[in-house]
């Protein structure tokens, strides 16, 4: 798809007047009529769902900020008593915001996996992919700082552990943590600056989303076949076809969201976070939010501090590197049976890493003894399972993907994407 010709025609005198001064109506109309591949499935609705999530977080967040006290002494009370009990509907707004973060990450993970499966990171969409990776990192930073704000035990110790990660760097490490904390430990100054940044970053994300959509509209959408759009037969206008499809998906998502908010509002919450932050006592079992667990497991799997931190950063960097690592011209894994298999195994290992991150490092995997000790932990320990999984995580990106890109025998790819659509009922299932 090359240039999308504008089909907008100003209807009234006013529209013509405005169009020659600020063509904003034309801009919106062109967004709506944007030619979109006709075969997008429901995995492609997560972009719209994510936009919805961002708006929900910003609206509920701004309301929470009206009742939130940023002081070290007042933060916990303002959330636990003020927002949760005294403010009208405060419990609801916080419930939506706190669980909204989980819903946001659920959507972003499915969105990223979609991109990996259909090869959406490949030319000509590398920049689009990288902007997406930046948004993901910003989301993690935002959620991490938001989690500190209720100033419970998990907030405090989560903040301490994560900021200490940067202390791992030789020479400058301690200067950086002191700079972040504004003191000798996490405390009031830290809370205040995290609030300031937690307010700011979502708007930076919104700006990045604008770039993301721009970068999407230059090459146009990828699609489940990975075959580029060749003619107008391949596309449909975004509105009404995909506006309606996206809205339907958002509605289903909202139902799930509502079930969480109204029936299991504390499903993702750690009870310890209802205890006010105490700098002298670490909770017996500290774990990050579920969406950070795999990275946490990778960090713990490595028995050396600096290497652990580098592995954690490297795990995220793999996503950025993916366009370089996979040079296979066939985009969609529909036509790459081997790549597909290794990809599914990778997803399983990510889930296992998530589980490992939620367990104690010396815990056992199969109930019973820890088994013979290798180096430091028993073979049946969570730590060793995390190590094996970490090894696969990196091997998938650094070894399997580049090798498959060169050697895999791919299935025949359709010439044009509208043919398989039209003949789908006649053709055998893929």
């Amino acid at each position: 798809m090359t240039e999308h010709k504008s089909t907008y025609e100003p209807k009234s005198g006013f529209e013509r007047w405005l169009d020659s001064r600020l063509p904003i109506v034309r801009f919106s109309a062109d967004l709506m009529s944007f030619p979109t591949p006709r075969n997008l499935n429901y995995w492609y609705t997560f972009g719209g769902i994510l936009a919805f999530c961002l708006v929900v977080q910003i609206v509920t967040g701004i309301v929470l900020a009206m009742h939130y006290d940023t002081s070290e002494a007042g933060a916990f009370i303002s959330v636990q008593r003020g927002i949760m009990r005294d403010v009208n509907y405060g419990w609801l707004i916080r419930g939506i915001h706190a669980n909204g973060a989980s819903m946001f990450f659920l959507a972003v993970y499915l969105h990223i996996l979609r991109g990996m499966y259909y090869g959406s990171y490949k030319a000509p969409r590398e920049v689009l992919w990288w902007i997406g990776c930046v948004i993901y990192v910003l989301m993690m930073a935002t959620a991490f700082m938001g989690y500190v704000l209720p100033w419970g035990q998990m907030s405090f110790w989560g903040a301490k552990v994560i900021t200490n990660l940067l202390g791992a760097f030789p020479v400058v490490g301690n200067a950086i943590t002191t700079l972040l904390w504004g003191g000798f430990s996490v405390g009031g100054p830290t809370l205040n600056r995290f609030f300031s940044l937690h307010y700011l970053l979502p708007f930076v994300i919104a700006g990045m989303v604008a770039l993301h959509v721009w970068a999407l509209h230059v090459p146009g959408n990828n699609n489940p076949t990975g075959v580029e759009v060749k003619s107008d037969h391949d596309t449909l206008p975004f509105h009404p076809y995909y506006t309606v499809k996206d809205l339907f998906a958002i509605m289903v998502f909202v139902i799930l969201f509502a079930v969480v908010v109204f029936f299991i509002p504390d499903a993702f919450e750690k009870v310890d976070n209802n205890v006010v932050a105490n700098a002298l006592v670490t909770p017996a079992h500290i774990v990050p939010e579920w969406y950070l667990l795999p990275f946490y497991a990778i960090l713990r799997a490595i028995p050396d501090k600096l290497s652990g931190v580098l592995a954690l950063a490297g795990a995220i960097a793999m996503l950025f590197a993916l366009p370089f690592l996979d040079q296979n011209k066939v985009k969609s894994m529909r036509y790459r049976p081997a790549a597909r298999m290794y990809f599914f195994i990778w997803i399983v290992f990510c889930l296992i890493l998530g589980w490992c991150g939620s367990q104690e490092p010396q815990g056992t995997v199969i109930p019973g003894g820890a088994g013979p000790v290798i180096i430091d932990y028993g073979i049946n320990s969570v730590t060793w399972l995390a190590r094996v999984s970490t090894a696969y995580y990196f091997a998938y990106f650094l070894i399997i993907t580049p090798l498959l890109a060169m050697s895999e025998k791919t299935l025949p790819v359709p010439d044009a994407l509208f043919m398989p659509v039209l003949s789908k009922s006649a053709a055998p299932a893929e």
Partner: protein, 209 residues
């Protein structure tokens, strides 16, 4: 500094003959100057110099503004103004420990039993990540008092008293294990629990800081 070799290039007829690229880019602006006759052949070099000098001043200006914006993040004067504190050791029975705050950081004061001291001394020459003798971690004549920072040297959690196979501490966060001298014996932490300055005012009173 770049200089076009001759006046036969595509820009030949702009300005005063031999000019630099930057001169060409700014030729519209400099036209009036040229007409006024101030644009001699040497002015090109002078203009490049002004270009760089302006840029350098701009960079210095940005740096001068950036530094206060970064340094404001560092601990403020009231945070730095930290008094030392005194602690009455009779509050810590033999075989137990207290965790107190000094400069907002958690500190362990552990009243070690002869058994725990013996265990620590016995391991003085065992292989360790951060080798240190037990004697080097206490004040002479006060071996029963181990006074150290309570932040795990991995990522800062407060380790649990008597946890782990060495009877010292175990960190609940990522499983670092310390012995009864606070030395790192297992797990991801790189260093022994840190020492910090303190003095015994009497046998039952210490001053931290």
């Amino acid at each position: 500094m770049r200089r076009e070799a001759s006046s036969t290039g595509p820009w030949a007829d702009s300005g005063a003959g031999s000019g630099t690229l930057s001169e060409v880019r700014t030729s519209e602006v400099s036209e009036s100057v040229a007409k006024a006759g101030a644009d001699g052949p040497d002015d090109a070099g002078r203009r490049d110099f002004l270009y760089l000098a302006t840029g350098a001043v701009g960079v210095a200006g940005v740096a001068a503004v950036a530094w206060p914006l970064i340094d404001q993040l560092n601990p403020a004067a009231d945070t730095l103004a930290l008094a030392s504190i005194e602690y009455d050791l009779t509050k810590v029975p033999l075989g137990s420990e207290v965790t107190i705050a000094w400069r907002k950081q958690p500190v362990f004061i552990r009243h070690r039993t002869p058994d725990e001291i013996a265990r620590a001394v016995a391991d003085d020459h065992a292989p360790m990540k951060d080798p240190a003798t037990d004697a080097s971690r206490v004040k002479p004549g006060h071996a029963e008092w181990l006074i150290i920072l309570a932040s795990c040297t991995h990522l800062g959690c407060v380790p649990t008293f008597k946890g782990g196979e060495y009877g010292g501490w175990a960190c609940p966060c990522h499983g670092s294990v310390y012995d009864t001298s606070g030395r790192i014996r297992k797990g991801p932490a790189p260093k022994n629990l840190y020492l910090f300055p303190y003095t015994f005012l009497s046998d039952t009173k210490v001053k931290l800081g």
